[in-house]
């Protein structure tokens, strides 16, 4: 049985006097113990909302969550606030995007790490501090003793992210959700953090949900990749398969628009035209249709269903035939 089973997860934001906004629209995926699952997609496609929904961190008012999120067999969405609090930090850890704003500026790093130990492992403050020191050491923060007493602003960006990872992993959760943990960092630091996470996840046997918009990160890290578009998973496959043969026009287009370091000189980029602003609602067809080079008439009339195609889930009426070069942009 999967460690985490997300089924038909939908999140609808409803603000007074405004149209309801469907941020996540029937997302399903599984995470096996020790597995790394990637959620990729561009800004606003619902990655963060999905992760917050799993963690039960969405605002109580104004967000309607449906579907099931089964962790080890229990549906997290049905748990009471108290029960959920007991699990967060202990069974599920989370690392956020912006390490500076995600740490409390007026509480020393040490306490921010140790409080989660005190809470879930019932350690007294002293002991928790010693453990915290070890944790900081483990995530590669030099001179951890001194850092315990320091405040987030005294640490560099990379160190802050390491501290956040230490917090998330403090209680050795079985599942770690990382929401764009490296987006705010420089490439050289990103490489450090990614390799650290890889290492820790392997050592601890933690399952990891990696949320990112960077296909490169996914390519090097994840076992299975979910590509999100407009709140729905449009393609899901094991990474080798996905990158070797992207079938969904969106995935295909994304890969074609990324400049690659190892590309031949003079190679052209093939962008996807338009932007998410051009989307049509999923209820009326395929949200990607207006930008899709493969779009058919049916695409703007019928919402494509999720289909299983040889270990690959695909939501498309007219998938890309493997091996076709990306379509040229039609000038407007």
């Amino acid at each position: 049985m999967a460690l985490l089973e997300v089924r038909d997860l939908s999140v609808v934001f409803q603000r007074r006097g405004e149209e309801p906004f469907i941020a996540v629209d029937g997302v399903s995926f599984d995470v096996e113990p020790g597995q790394t699952v990637g959620l990729v997609g561009e800004s606003g496609c619902g990655k963060s909302v999905t992760s917050l929904a799993i963690m039960g961190l969405l605002p109580k008012r104004g967000a309607k969550i449906t579907g099931t999120v089964k962790y080890d067999g229990t549906d997290l969405l049905k748990l009471s606030d108290r029960e959920m609090r007991d699990r967060r930090g202990r069974d599920l850890g989370m690392v956020f995007q912006d390490p500076l704003s995600s740490l409390n500026p007026v509480v020393p790093i040490g306490l921010q790490v140790s409080e989660v130990l005190e809470r879930h492992r019932g350690m007294p403050r002293k002991e928790a501090m010693i453990e915290a020191k070890d944790l900081l050491d483990k995530v590669g923060i030099p001179d951890p003793n001194r850092r315990l007493k320091e405040y987030p602003h005294q640490l560099s960006g990379g160190m802050r992210q390491r501290a956040l990872i230490a917090i998330a992993l403090a209680c050795r959760p079985k599942l770690l959700i990382a929401d764009e943990p490296t987006t705010a960092l420089d490439v050289t630091i990103q490489a450090q953090i990614l390799s650290l996470m890889k290492e820790l996840v392997q050592d601890l046997g933690t399952a990891l949900v990696m949320i990112t918009h960077d296909l490169g990160v996914v390519a090097g890290l994840c076992d299975e990749v979910n590509v999100l578009y407009g709140g729905k998973v449009v393609e899901k496959a094991m990474r080798h398969k996905l990158f070797a043969e992207p079938r969904h026009p969106y995935t295909h287009g994304l890969l074609a628009s990324i400049p690659r370091l190892d590309a031949e000189p003079g190679e052209k980029l093939t962008p996807i035209k338009g932007s998410v602003a051009d989307n049509i609602p999923w209820s009326q067809g395929c949200a990607f249709a207006p930008r899709c080079p493969n779009a058919l008439d049916v695409c703007v009339q019928v919402t494509p269903a999720e289909e299983d195609q040889l270990g690959r889930l695909l939501r498309c009426h007219n998938p890309v035939v493997p091996g076709t070069p990306a379509a040229e942009e039609v000038p407007v």
């Binding site: 630091i189 490169g216 990158f243 052209k268």
Partner: protein
Amino acid sequence: MKVHFPIKRGVFIDRTVGYVYAVDGVDLEIKRGETYGLVGESGCGKSTLGRAMLRLNEPTAGKMVFDGQDFSTLKGEELRKMRRRIQMVFQDPLSSLDPRQSVESILVEGLRAHGLDKGKESTSKRLRELLSAVGLPASALRKYPHEFSGGQRQRIGIARALALEPDLIVADEPVSALDVSVQAQVVNLMEELQEQFGLTYLVIAHDLAVVKHISDRVGVMYLGGLVEEATAEDLYAEPLHPYTRALLSAIPVPDPVVEDRRERILLAGDLPSPANPPTGCRFHTRCPWRQASRCDTERPALRELKPGHKVACHWAEQIQSGEIQPHEVKPILVEENDGLSPDVPLVGPASVTEALNP
């Protein structure tokens, strides 16, 4: 070129007690019609250098010769006139557009400043041309920046730069704020425009892949200095500076096959503070090839190792030949704010309370 930002402190009168060495001795040359790419980690001084070239930051020292004319000594009206020929495209497409002005007035402004709006007819024709060149409908003219998507905004920013028919465009991270799918559109647009108008670009970015894609030549910056300069292909094929090597190896490639095979050079620690840069080679604190001699005492000059390929490393040849092998580096503490950051001045009549209570 040098740009040092003074750090002011004092009990009575402000004295300059230190400098942020944002750009510290950079020499570079951009040829007409080429695209020069500048990469480096955040805070290494890329933007500062770019701005200094437009005289948006006053350089502390150094000279800037544009088309044979010394741009760095111009003043007042002369400088203003000269500005027409160098334009800038900014990173954040929203904040670089005045939120209170319609696209039309944003575009007309530059024309007006240089007396190029001769008559309604011709101006309006010109605006339409500009918009169509960047792929926006003419109806965009009457709208405001916040009504556009990020990619469209960046197109407006480019149109604004184009309006004055400049020779050189400095683009400071023109695509970093954009989604990948849109990023490619803008990159392509820039390339097209270059062909069409014979532009010269200085493209600043932290994403080496983008820079490599778009540039003819690439300069790699580290902590205020240029460490390597080469053509895009050379740089990728044969990085000479340890930092460039590490940088190249750190960039993820969206191809699991490549990723699985790659060997990473992981740098230890963080970028030191530009207010207190390391002695000697700025990179020596993180360099896996660091040698006991010279590295920490002598600042290496940028030297041409091969035609068109310059590097600032004492041991570049030895590293290339494998004579020197990388070794483990212990990360050293980097003080994020060692009390000299000028960004948040605590001293002065301005008190924290001032910020809180208008």
